[in-house]
């Protein structure tokens, strides 16, 4: 149940997937709002600090996710997925894994290169040191640009990724989305009927 099987995801993958997903969407929204001018300056300062704390949390989880992704097997796609779709999915997933790490690193670089030298005080608990980057306006501007660009590329990838999952669920009626919601119980890569049988079996055991 914790680990992935040949046909489905285990809880470790599922929980990491949705936690990181929520964090990334929240950070995109927070990042977008805090950068708007005309926002109350005290609120803006607070939002920046929340963004950094949640960003570090996202980075930590993304690193765990990547290690897990490297050491744990990846279930093969449902049989209904064509080779071209597999390639596209693989590319999207690889990109998301990389961006999940690179985007927060570029954010960390912004905080580190900034001439403001504002400490990163992770949820007001521990100080996370700056990356060893020279502090200058040029460097800060470069990393700000890189961070924003890559963050919005990540948003685009998330949108494609989510659209594909919804397409599979509602148009194709396959398991692509549902198997990221709860672990597959069976060993076979059967379709819906197989899942129904398992659900019934699990329900029976519960009593």
């Amino acid at each position: 149940m914790l680990r992935n099987s040949e046909t489905g995801f285990g809880w470790v993958t599922i929980v990491l997937h949705w936690t990181i997903g929520l964090l990334i969407l929240g950070l995109l929204l927070l990042g977008f709002i805090m950068r708007r001018t005309g926002i109350d300056p005290a609120l803006q300062f607070a939002l920046y600090q929340w963004h950094k704390s949640f960003g570090f949390a996202a980075l930590g989880l993304a690193l765990i996710r990547t290690i897990w992704w490297l050491v744990e097997r990846t279930p093969s796609p449902p049989a209904s997925v064509s080779p071209l779709e597999r390639k596209a999915a693989r590319l999207t997933h690889d990109t998301l894994i990389v961006l999940g790490i690179v985007v927060p690193f570029t954010g960390w670089a912004v905080a580190s290169a900034s001439t403001l030298n504002i400490p990163s005080f992770f949820f007001n608990m521990i100080v996370i040191p700056h990356l060893p980057l020279a502090r200058s306006e040029t460097s800060e501007n470069f990393w700000t640009f890189a961070h924003a660009l890559l963050a919005y590329v990540a948003l685009a990838m998330v949108a494609i990724h989510a659209a594909a999952a919804l397409y599979h669920h509602f148009k194709r009626g396959d398991e692509v989305l549902t198997r990221m919601l709860h672990p597959a119980v069976g060993v076979s890569s059967g379709g819906r009927s197989a899942r129904k049988r398992h659900d019934a079996a699990v329900g029976g055991n519960d009593r």
């Binding site: 300062f45 504002i118 400490p119 005080f121």
Partner: protein, 197 residues
């Protein structure tokens, strides 16, 4: 005109200081000699700093525009008084973004509160050349009792200089933005020169 007088005074003070420090710490003048009314000279400096978590840097700045005066009571030093105004709009810091933030509604709210004022209520001599000054500090429309430590550093017939230090907690004035990353305590370090009126 004022500029030439100021720089002349500054030069005199500097020379006096260089000579006097090597011999002895500035000695307290006979009170009768120092008694009088003084205007705070623009050559004075009002610096402040706020520490940051993990050490290093913090926020440091100064105020370019201020005014005020003090009166030294010859008969009883404890009856001396000081009043002081500084203009947060004139705050200077390491860079523009910091200055704008300090002026903004997050800190001084300089648009709505043009001045920060101090009016002494009590002066207590603590040593031959030291005193504490207690008084009402008003910032952002809030007034509180604060205390500063004063040390005499130099004096002559026309002017007198002090260093003044104080640690002010900013939260009571509604300026606690940035805590706990930045300390709640602002350290003031002022070098005040008064010119006899």
């Amino acid at each position: 005109m004022t500029i030439t007088i100021n720089s002349a005074v500054k030069a005199t003070l500097y020379i006096a200081f260089v000579f006097s420090t090597s011999v002895a710490k500035a000695q307290a003048p006979a009170l009768a000699d120092a008694a009088g009314s003084y205007r705070i000279a623009s050559s004075s400096s009002i610096q402040f700093s706020v520490g940051q978590v993990g050490g290093g840097g913090g926020i440091a700045g100064r105020f370019a525009k201020f005014s005020g005066g003090f009166r030294i009571d010859g008969a009883n030093i404890e009856r001396s008084s000081v009043e002081f105004t500084l203009y947060p709009e004139s705050v200077r810091a390491s860079e523009r973004r910091v200055e704008d933030f300090l002026r903004s509604s997050a800190v001084f709210d300089a648009a709505n509160f043009q001045t920060v004022t101090f009016r002494s209520t009590r002066v207590r001599q603590t040593g031959p050349a030291t005193a504490t000054v207690e008084g009402a500090l008003t910032a952002r429309g809030k007034t509180r009792k604060e205390r500063f430590a004063v040390t005499l550093t130099d004096w002559n017939r026309r002017s007198i200089s002090f260093t003044i230090r104080g640690s002010i907690r900013r939260s009571p004035y509604g300026m606690d933005v940035g805590t706990p990353i930045y300390s709640n305590v602002v350290e003031f370090n002022m070098r005040i020169t008064g010119q006899r009126r």
